[in-house]
């Protein structure tokens, strides 16, 4: 399942996509995020599955700002959450 968290406003689209089919619940992304944007939550979509990472409710409407320090405009940089994910399960839309 592709879970998209975030929003769209006048300045653009800000979504963090987590592919739960690729995710192995290792929690490395949660540990890697310096701003605490991600947390592990029960997987309500598949009761057999392990916990999955999700963007916290408090951050869902402001990730453009919270994630900004990991997206320097002057150079290419991969955000630590994406870097930490060995399964390539995390994407940012911006």
């Amino acid at each position: 399942m592709k879970a998209n968290y975030g929003y769209k406003d006048g300045s653009g689209e800000y979504f963090i996509t987590i592919d739960t089919d690729k995710c192995n619940s290792c929690e490395e992304c949660v540990k890697a995020c310096p701003a605490g944007v991600l947390e592990m939550v029960p997987n309500d979509f598949d009761i057999e599955a392990e916990d999955m990472p999700a963007v916290t409710e408090k951050e869902r409407w402001k990730i453009k700002y919270t994630c900004a320090p990991c997206k320097p405009v002057d150079r290419e940089a991969t955000p630590p959450c994406i870097e930490a994910c060995k399964e390539d399960a995390i994407e940012h839309s911006w």
Partner: protein
């Protein structure tokens, strides 16, 4: 009379019970309680058949609203809460349903509920709730394969429409129909934010626009906004809308126009989809021995 005139936003709150069914004939009775930001529903199902439900406005506290919704659903039955084997709480206030056995996110519940309401061919569900909007893709079992929600604002939601009904002194149930009683389709209002859109609408009214034209301009702005969300997720047929806005033909038809896909229709109340999904999940959990 005075009260009615000031309450254009008010939609019908009611309860329903299947008069032909006796709950004692059911093997497994489960319930779903959906506490949303604007409305709350309690749905009681016996062996996945709809038995009784209530649909009301959410009060200022979630546990109180949950109790009230459940009491109302039970009211005309000879059943008590103890007769329900398993209760799922869902929606914005799902963790505050005191008598729920488990809380499940409304995204999973809406997909499962839509699958029950519209049948297994449903692949894309747009839940237009009171305060947010979610686009959901699911498989033939009603299991979510992708979802996208917009957590930022009330644009494209039921609450936004309530604000407009109030501003224009039009009863919320008439908004959809009136939005088509126009000479030509106006340009949508440019702002999707409810606060700014309301200011923009006030200005249009002052310029002499008829009410219906303003409603049309807001309905198409709302439709366009959710269209862009759906576009991002990708839409596959069959497509259906759940939530309160699904009853507003002015928004529904304009979404269909942009998508070039017709939304499936149902005789069920589209507001109960989440709670229905909860009750269906409840039965699955009981059968799997997880309850």
């Amino acid at each position: 009379m005075g009260m009615k005139e000031s309450e254009y936003w008010r939609w019908k709150e009611y309860n329903w019970k299947d008069e032909d069914a006796d709950w004692k004939d059911f093997d497994i009775v489960t319930a779903g309680v959906d506490i949303g930001s604007v409305s709350s529903q309690a749905v009681i199902m016996g062996d996945n058949e709809l038995f009784a439900y209530s649909n009301m406005r959410t009060g200022s506290d979630s546990p109180g609203s949950a109790r009230k919704a459940m009491d109302w659903a039970l009211k005309d039955t000879d059943m008590t809460l103890d007769d329900i084997r398993y209760v799922i709480g869902t929606g914005y206030g799902r963790v505050n349903v005191p008598f729920a056995n488990k809380a499940i996110t409304e995204i999973a519940c809406h997909a499962r509920g839509a699958n029950w309401m519209y049948g297994p061919s449903i692949r894309t569900v747009l839940d237009m709730g009171g305060q947010d909007c979610k686009a959901i893709r699911c498989d033939e079992r009603g299991k979510v394969t992708a979802f996208l929600m917009n957590d930022k604002c009330a644009a494209g939601t039921g609450r936004g429409m309530e604000v407009f009904a109030d501003l224009l002194s039009v009863h919320i149930e008439d908004v959809g129909r009136l939005s088509f009683e126009i000479d030509e389709e106006p340009t949508p209002v440019s702002s999707t934010c409810v606060v700014f859109a309301k200011a923009e609408a006030s200005q249009l009214l002052r310029q002499g626009w008829p009410k219906n034209k303003v409603i049309a301009a807001y309905s198409s702005a709302m439709a366009h906004r959710v269209f862009t969300l759906l576009e991002r997720l990708g839409v596959e047929k069959e497509f259906a809308i759940t939530g309160g806005i699904a009853k507003n033909e002015g928004v529904v038809k304009r979404i269909e126009r942009e998508l070039k896909i017709e939304a499936l229709q149902t005789d069920y109340d589209t507001q109960i989809a989440g709670a229905v999904g909860g009750a269906v999940f409840g039965k699955t959990l009981v059968e799997k021995g997880k309850a």
